[in-house]
């Protein structure tokens, strides 16, 4: 495996009425070719912003990349021209958005929209592009693809629209696919179909996938590695198994413990769920210390002095916390 995308100490700031909001705070992520990387965290922690920054789509103003680099192999996308970024999007990196209706054009047939995408990046005839669209719809498991290619987005169910999005994102054979909560609005049954589809496509084409979600179960099911975000910081990364069965950061532990997991044999006794006390801090009011300190039961004086750096605890598992020793001893 080789590193295909490497994000280094990236900082993104937004000007807001309440002051400067540092929505991404020195985040570093490496994506290996052919892997599925999960990004998890609560609403507002910066998951979508990470995706938009990679795609060169941060609205500016009010946002701006203040420092850091995003290396696509050797090329720094932070420094790339607008024209080059347009090439990268769709051609090399494509994205599936949370709400398919916002990214599908309601007045065009879905087949034409996929064909359009193909034509943008490849020199083929319109007819071949249309055939490719039908082929992609077949691949993503849409029944009667020739007929459905002629449908307008509103004529399809939510699950089918999401599949059209995936077909569109994959039609230009990207090397990296970013999926931002691709199943949040869907039933678990349809979600399972989409997950299977993503896994199959990844295995077949070797596309590296960044999967953004707030669902630990989705991470468990899909991702090889996971990164946990809190208030614009990456606070823990590692192999999915390590994150789920041996979480070390107090926030990751809290996040996993508060989810009512579905058991095959539920017990009669039902303890109350464990809670993370308090609320997520406002990004304009972060102190200089650990962003989790106001809610952390393990906090010591040092935590409020300086932000804990993210450090390896073994070869691939990294955590940003001063007090791991005490945390894991509990």
């Amino acid at each position: 495996m080789s590193t295909i995308l490497s994000i280094n100490d990236l900082i993104v700031d937004f000007k807001t009425r309440a002051g400067n909001a540092r929505v991404l705070n020195e985040i570093s992520i490496e994506l290996q070719s052919g892997e599925i990387l999960g990004i998890v965290g609560e609403s507002g922690c910066g998951k979508s912003m990470t995706a938009l920054t990679i795609m060169g789509l941060v609205p500016s103003p009010p946002g701006k990349i203040s420092s850091g680099s995003i290396l696509l192999e050797e090329e720094d996308l932070v420094k790339a021209s607008t024209a080059r970024m347009r090439q990268v999007r769709g051609g090399i990196i494509s994205m599936i958005f949370q709400e398919p209706m916002t990214s599908l054009n309601p007045v065009f047939r879905v087949g034409d929209q996929i064909a359009e995408c193909v034509l943008l990046h490849e020199e083929i005839t319109k007819e071949d592009a249309w055939n490719r669209a039908v082929e992609m719809l077949t691949k993503v498991g849409i029944p009667e693809p020739e007929i459905r290619a002629r449908a307008y987005p509103h004529e399809l169910s939510g699950g089918m629209r999401q599949r059209v999005m995936i077909a569109m994102a994959l039609s230009c054979r990207p090397r990296i696919l970013i999926a931002d909560e691709p199943t949040t609005a869907l039933d678990v049954t349809v979600q399972a179909q989409i997950f299977d589809l993503l896994k199959d496509l990844q295995r077949e084409t070797g596309t590296a996938i960044i999967m953004i979600t707030h669902d630990m179960g989705a991470i468990a099911e899909l991702a090889d590695r996971a990164a946990v975000m809190y208030a614009g910081h990456i606070i823990e990364t590692g192999k999915t198994e390590d994150i789920l069965s041996n979480p070390q950061h107090p926030y990751t532990r809290g996040l996993i413990a508060c989810v009512p997991h579905l058991e095959e044999n539920p017990s009669e006794i039902r303890p109350y769920l464990s809670e993370i006390k308090g609320v997520v801090p406002s990004l304009t009011e972060l102190g200089k210390g650990c962003a989790f300190a106001p809610r952390c039961p393990y906090k010591t004086d040092v935590c409020e002095e300086e932000r804990p750096p993210i450090e390896l605890v073994d070869s691939v598992h990294a955590v940003a916390c001063y007090n791991i020793k005490y945390v894991v001893a509990v």
Partner: protein, 322 residues
């Protein structure tokens, strides 16, 4: 579920008329013969895919949609037969909490007034005491009473859902109907609200009808669970029995679709459930699940399976079990 039911629904049907398609009038069988009861102080969960009729069932219990057929009884009152004044009085016993804490609160009103409104409307308590009642409700749901002066947009999602619960509790209802109350919330906030709902049930003895598509949440909170498919209940049992021994192929598929921490080597294959549920307009002739059922037989396409007791009150409707 024979112990002292607070809510009893019998053969409920809610059909919507619609004239869109080919100018022919069509009927949407949103809820099509549903029966269940919820014992006092307990929680019944309703699960099922989008469009299966969960919300319509909830709205019918509150008489917020016209009931086509069937009866709904809350305590001694037959809600489905009441009109005007009597209905208004009976409605006091039932309140609803909605999915979206963002749109279910009037943005122009202070949250204290939002919580107070049902007290004024239903003339509960002496007028002079109502401020104190609002104060107590805020404390009960874990909000600082001085926050009553703020507007909804000044609250987080979790706080807004607490306001929604305070408003629902104001009339001291016996039954609270919750339609996806935690679906829009983050897991950390969700845990706080679920714990609060349990605490309120223990303290006040309220009964919940709880709708959710999150099976983990339902397993945690509910005492009994009903699984809906295309307007009907296909399986219903107590919490332990339903999750440890699901009988209906649809329930089994639904449970298998939930992502969980498990081996990724592909050794455990889930039951493939393809396609979307068919429309509640042109209903299939036999079993409504037959078109997607991985174990369907010939009979399933023509004969309707009956919802029967498969032992200890565990109900399921499937020919394989007959």
């Amino acid at each position: 579920m024979s112990e002292d039911p607070l809510l009893e629904v019998r053969d409920l049907k809610v059909h919507f008329g619609s004239k869109k398609l080919f100018r022919k009038s069509v009927v949407v069988h949103a809820v099509d013969g549903v029966s269940f009861s919820v014992p006092k102080g307990k929680t019944l969960g309703i699960v099922g895919e989008s469009g299966s009729g969960k919300t319509t069932t909830a709205l019918a219990v509150l008489r917020l949609v016209p009931i086509t057929d069937g009866t709904i009884r809350i305590g001694d009152a037959e809600i489905s037969a009441l009109e005007k004044e009597e209905l208004r009085a009976a409605r006091r016993k039932v309140q609803m909490v909605f999915q979206d804490p963002y749109s279910s609160l009037d943005p122009r009103r202070r949250v204290g007034d939002i919580v107070r409104e049902p007290l004024d409307l239903m003339e509960i308590g002496a007028e002079a005491d109502r401020d104190q009642m609002v104060h107590d409700l805020f404390v009960q749901v874990g909000l600082r009473p001085e926050l009553a002066k703020l507007f909804p947009h000044q609250f987080s999602g979790g706080q807004r859902q607490r306001v929604g619960l305070a408003r629902a509790l104001a009339t001291r209802p016996e039954l609270i109907v919750c339609d996806e109350p935690v679906s829009a919330l983050d897991v950390a906030v969700q845990a706080q609200i679920l714990n609060l709902m349990r605490k309120l049930q223990e303290e006040l003895g309220v009964t919940y009808l709880f709708i959710s598509h999150d099976l983990g949440v339902v397993q945690h909170l509910c005492d009994h669970v009903a699984v809906m498919y295309l307007g009907q209940i296909v399986e219903q049992a107590d919490r332990i029995s339903l999750f440890s021994n699901p009988q209906h192929p649809y329930t089994q598929a639904l449970l298998a679709a939930v992502p969980k921490a498990r081996a990724r080597d592909g050794s455990e294959k889930r039951i493939p459930l393809t396609g979307d549920p068919p429309s509640p307009i042109n209903l299939p002739k036999g079993c409504r699940f037959a078109g997607r059922c991985p174990v369907a037989m010939e009979k399933c396409h023509s004969v309707v399976p009956e919802l029967r007791d498969r032992g200890n009150g565990h109900l399921a409707s499937c020919h394989l079990l007959d």
